[in-house]
Structures are given as C-alpha cells and as structure tokens.
C-alpha cells in the first residue's frame, strides 16, 4: 500500500539533510508504528508524505497503491486517500469546525467526480462519529481548533480522519499530551477504522498507545533512518530500556 524507498529529504532553504534513506512498506490492513528520539525525522517524514512545502526530496520515492505521491499536490494526495493527523493541529479563526469538515469532505468527493454529500447525510454521519469521540455539538460549532484543549484537538483530528475515510492514515504523536481517558478515546476511534483494508502508520513516543492500538510492526527511527524493525516486543524494549541500547547496537 504505502511504499517508501530510500527517501532522502533536506530542507529547501538550508543545507540540512533530515531524512537519509528511509525504507518502509505498510501493507493494506496493517498497523505500523514508528518510535524514535526527538528530532529523528518522524514528523518530517509525515509532512513530506503529505506534501508540505519547505522540504526537498533529493533521492528516493514514495507511492500509495502504486501512485507516485511525490508528484502530487497536497490536496491530490489527500484525495488519493492519504491522511495525516497532525502533531500540532492548526487553528483557523472564524471558520466553523463543521464548515471545515464539510468543505474538506466535499472537496475530496468533487475531485473524485462524486456528488457532494447531502447536508442531511453529512449531519447524520458527523453526529454519529462525533458522539463516539465525545465531541459535542458546541465543539463542532467552534472555529477549527481555536481554544481547543490538547485532547480536543487530537480527538478532532480523529473525527476528520473518520469523516474523510482515508486508505492510509498517518498519526503523528496523536497520544502526546493526552490523559489516559482521552488516549483511550483516540485509540478506540482509530480501532474503529481498522477494517483489514486500511493501512496505519502510528508515530509515538510511548508504548502505552500501542497497548490500545496493537501494531503489527514496530520501527525505530534515529537520525533520519529506520535503524531497527521488529514486532510489538520492540516497543516494550524501548519502554523499558530507552533508545540507548538500540542505538548502541546499531553502531
């Protein structure tokens, strides 16, 4: 499904190499986790995959179901089925959360040549999903992410993910800053979308999220590369011993 080969990325305006040959394949229906110290390039990877500006791919490739992602505009990648739950969701003053969602859903439908979702269907769908994420009507009315608590922002990302129904979901530290209950809500939201066909790439610092979203594969990323890949037990090792052991082992 998601195929990343030898991906090299530097900053556009600076001579700073951030990704130094990332190889990663996420198969349909699987959950892959990426762990790694701060600054190792996890967010950069997710941004480059979703088409954020400011980075330059100097080598390698990335594709989704055979389609070259790096050739597409950000919105085309979204329409192709890629979704990124942001580590730091962005505030958009004056734009109602519901308006934002509906604009996004219908923009994607339009790009795929589908009719816009009717107001009634959309409303029904949002209400159902919002309820399961404990997002109330008030929060749907408020401007996008403005004045949301950390937990609200992250739940809102999952709401968007559910409404947009992507093929490939990337979650960038969706668990950080959440208390246990909020984390459970987020995990349940993600698990509800696990249908055996979607792929997931879950970036996290902590084993505890992986207790709730069971990964099939765990990767350790450091200094712009994936340095180790294993099963769920790898996450436990990190939890118990930190990264030092693994880093030393690789060197």
């Amino acid at each position: 499904m998601l195929n990343i080969k030898n991906l090299h990325v530097k900053l556009e305006d600076e001579d700073k190499q951030i990704l130094k040959g990332v190889n990663l394949t996420v198969e349909a229906g699987k959950v892959h986790a990426i762990m790694g110290p701060n600054g190792s390039g996890k967010s950069t990877l997710s941004y480059v995959l979703s088409g954020k500006g400011g980075y330059e791919v100097t080598d390698g490739s990335a594709s989704l179901d055979g389609q070259d992602l790096l050739e597409l505009e950000a919105e085309e990648r979204a329409t192709a089925g890629l979704f990124l739950a942001f580590q730091y969701p962005v505030e958009i003053p004056g734009v109602g959360n519901m308006t934002f969602l509906r604009t996004a859903v219908n923009a994607q439908r339009k790009a795929r040549g589908e009719d816009p979702m009717s107001a009634a269907d959309f409303l029904k769908e949002v209400r159902k999903t919002a309820k399961s994420l404990k997002i109330d009507a008030e929060m749907l009315k408020r401007p996008v992410n403005v004045g949301f608590s950390g937990g609200e922002k992250k739940r809102n990302e999952i709401l968007q993910m559910a409404m947009l129904s992507p093929k490939m979901c990337i979650l960038d530290e969706t668990d950080s800053g959440l208390d246990v209950d909020a984390m459970k809500l987020v995990a349940e939201g993600v698990n509800a979308l696990r249908d055996g066909k979607r792929g997931f790439l879950v970036i996290t610092h902590y084993q505890r999220l992986l207790d709730h979203i069971k990964p099939d594969v765990v990767h350790i990323m450091a200094n712009g590369r994936i340095i180790k890949t294993g099963g769920p037990e790898l996450a436990l090792e990190v939890e118990n011993n930190g990264y030092a052991g693994i880093l030393a082992e690789v060197e």
């Binding site: 990124l84 942001f86 962005v90 958009i92 934002f100 509906r102 209400r127």
Partner: protein, 507 residues
Amino acid sequence: MAALDQTQVKEGIDQETVDAVREVGGAYKHGWATDIEMEYAPKGLTTDIVRLISQKNEEPQWMLDWRLQAYDRWLTKEEPSWAMVDYPEIDFQDQYYYARPKSMEVKPKSLDEVDPKLLETYKKLGIPLKEQMILAGVEGAENAPAEGRKVAVDAVFDSVSLGTTFKAELAEAGVIFCSISEAIREHPELVKKYLGTVVPVSDNFYATLNSAVFSDGSFVYVPPGVRCPMELSTYFRINAENTGQFERTLIIADKGSYVSYLEGCTAPARDIAQLHAAVVEIIIEEDAEVKYSTVQNWYPGDENGKGGIYNFVTKRADCRGDRAKIMWTQVETGSAVTWKYPSCILRGDDSQGEFYSIAITNNYQQADTGTKMVHLGKNTKSRIVSKGISAGHAQNTYRGLVSMHPKAKNARNYTQCDSLLIGNKCGAHTVPYIEVKNNSARVEHEATTSKVDDDQLFYCRSRGMDEEAAVALVVNGFCKDVLQALPMEFAMEAQQLVAISLEGSVG
C-alpha cells in the same frame, strides 16, 4: 441537537461559496461591456456642462443654481493628498461628465419600455428588474419568509436611472423610492429640505465636484412609523468609456421608521482608469434606523495595475433624532483606488452608529478607507469592526476618527481593526485618530495584523481543498464578523467575491 442543525445550515454557506468560486474561474466577472448607442455631453467640465446635465434631468431653476454654486466652489478647491494612495494626476477636462443610452432620450414610463439590451445587461449581472420574489436558492434561506423576499431595485446605468421596481407597492406603504432626478422633479420640498444638509456642498473636493455634476442616483423617504416592507437597493453600472460616474443618494428615515438599503456596483474592464465620485447622505430622525450595505465591486484594474475605477466617495449618516441608529456595512473588493469613509454623526442622545468593513486589495489595488464616528449627543454609542486584507502589491489603509465632543456624556466607542497580509509585497496600515473632549467618554481600540499562514493553508490542503479554496476559507473566516452583519443575499455574494478577488494571490 437543534443547535447543531442550525450550525449546519448556516455554515453551509461557506461550502456553497467555495463551490461557486471553483466554478466561476477567471478573475473579475463583470468586465464585459454592453454595446449600445450612447449620447455624450462634450468632454470636459464647464458651467455649460453643468447646465446641460441640469437640463437633461429637466431640473427646476433652484437645482441648477445649487449646482452652479457648487461648481464655483469646486474651482477654488484642491484635490486632497493626505490619503495613502498614489495615482497619476486626473485630468478633469479629459473626460465625459454625462453619458446616457440614446434609447433613454424619451423617458420610459416603466421598465417594460426600456431597451431590451439594457435590461439584458442587468440580467447578465444577476440583478432582478422584474417585480419578483428573490428565492434565495441557498441553504440558510430559511430565515426568509417562505414565499421569498422582495428587493426593490433602482438600476442606474452610466448617468441615468433606467427605472425602479416595486414603486407602487412601496408607495402604498408611503415609502418613496425613485431616482434622485425624479425626486427633484416630483418631491422638490423633500429634496430641498435635506439635500446637502449632511454632506455640505463644500465638504471636500470630490463632494463639491459631485454636487456640481451628479447625474443620477437614488432617493428614499420612509415616513414616520413605517417599517419599509422590503429591502431597497441600487445597482450602479458604469458602461461608457472615459466617463465619470457621479451618483447622488439621499435617504431619509423619518421618526420611528426603518429601512435596509443595499448598494452594488460593477464596471467593464478597461485599460484607462475611470473616475467615480459619489455622495450618499442619510438622515435619521428620532427612533429611526437605517442599515446601509455596500458590495463595491468596481473593476479593480488588471494584475499589473492598469485601468480600474478611482473611487472617491463621501458617505455620511446624520443621526439627528434621539435613539436614531445607523449601521454601515461595506465589502470593498473592487476599484484601483478607494478613498471612502462612511461616517456617522451621532447628534441625537442615545443614538448609535456601527461600521463593519471588509476591504480587500490584490495586485496593485490601493484602499484608504475607514469611518468617522462623531459623538455629539449624550450616551451615544459606536462600534467599528474593520477587516483589511492585502495581497499582491496592494496597499490597504484603515483610517478612522473617533471624536467625543464635550456634550457627549457617557459616549462609548469600540474599535477593532484587523489586517491580514497574503504574501510579503503588500502592505497594511492602521491610522486611528481619537479625540476625547469629555471625561465620561470611553474609547477602546484594538488592532491586529497577521499573515495568511502557510501552516493554515497546508492544513486545509492536506484535507483535500485546493489552494484557492483554502485561501477563500481562511479569509472568509477572518472576515466572519463582518459577513454576518450583511443581509443574506449580500453575504453570499460577498463571500464569493472575497474568494474571487484573491485569485492568483498565492502560489
């Protein structure tokens, strides 16, 4: 869940907008011209031209005298230069001051007699000249009565009014709505009593010029205690080349009355800049209320700053009676140069003035706009919400005056002035003047300047919106407080305009 339903419907507008904008494509929508035989007064400005305009309008002697006096004053005045706008010197002798379609030589008795080609122009602009309901085919129209809403229209084409709809029905309610030239002929006592009492002949260079050469415009009188049964609107179309448009609008809301008035304007895309110098005077008596909304969409010039309308406008409302209320709402998206300060004289005790403004400048457009709140009466209140958006090489200035006079005990003003920049070649400026001459008055001023943030755009795009839809969404969010102040149909149009005016501003 009722609240949720409401949100859904109301906010659906934004979506519609974005869709509509996507479909429209191309920047300025109204840049085409109507090919029609015109009759011009000779080029240039002299007393003969002033006489000719007066004669064409079949005016009484007192009106001509008034104009001639204004003309003499104008000769002694100098063009103001304090605004933050820069344009080549205007040669006032190198343009036409009067242009009317040949077919209007004999005044049509009703709109049915007007040249179909002219009527077609308004149809193409989307302005209904039939006396029909406006069925706002949009979500959110549930606020309108089920059978739709009526909007009366005065259609002004270059120097003449083609006609006014719903006149009979309005007359039944006692409301006079007609062109100013007709009012001068049919209601001289009202015109004489009020004309020039809010914007005096010698107020400023452009107002004085307008007083000498205004050709047409609208007149509204709402009698005591009457709530005008429909929205009134005037649609100004400049079509002729090399011709200035000088419209004059006079609105009188007598004691305890209410009226909502809308103004729209467009012009063909031409290489040579054209002058538009309007005067709007509003008189609001005791307990009366006027809402005046403008969507100004004059041709802005091309992306290199060639052509466009020079828009020098004097608009002022006088809250003469106690508890009188005025609300100005403007969406300024067009014109190469905008010089405009719709103002409120808060003379009556407890009178209120509000000013909501969105000014968008793109490419090489320049806008210097704002308001004056002159607090004369006790307990007068004013509120200013200004949203300036600049993109491209544009310059956008908010210029506002809040003046608290000695007798304006307990007067209050709140000003909020936000600027949004798109790109880094444009400019935003805020020039607030505040004069407080009594201790009990309070003035509050808040100002912010921000940039359309790449992170916001990326966030929207990562959800599937293309760049233009993303900018439209972010900017509409920025303008929300003002868009909400507009009547429904105008809010829709305005949202679309916001998006269209910013086309090509990113990427």
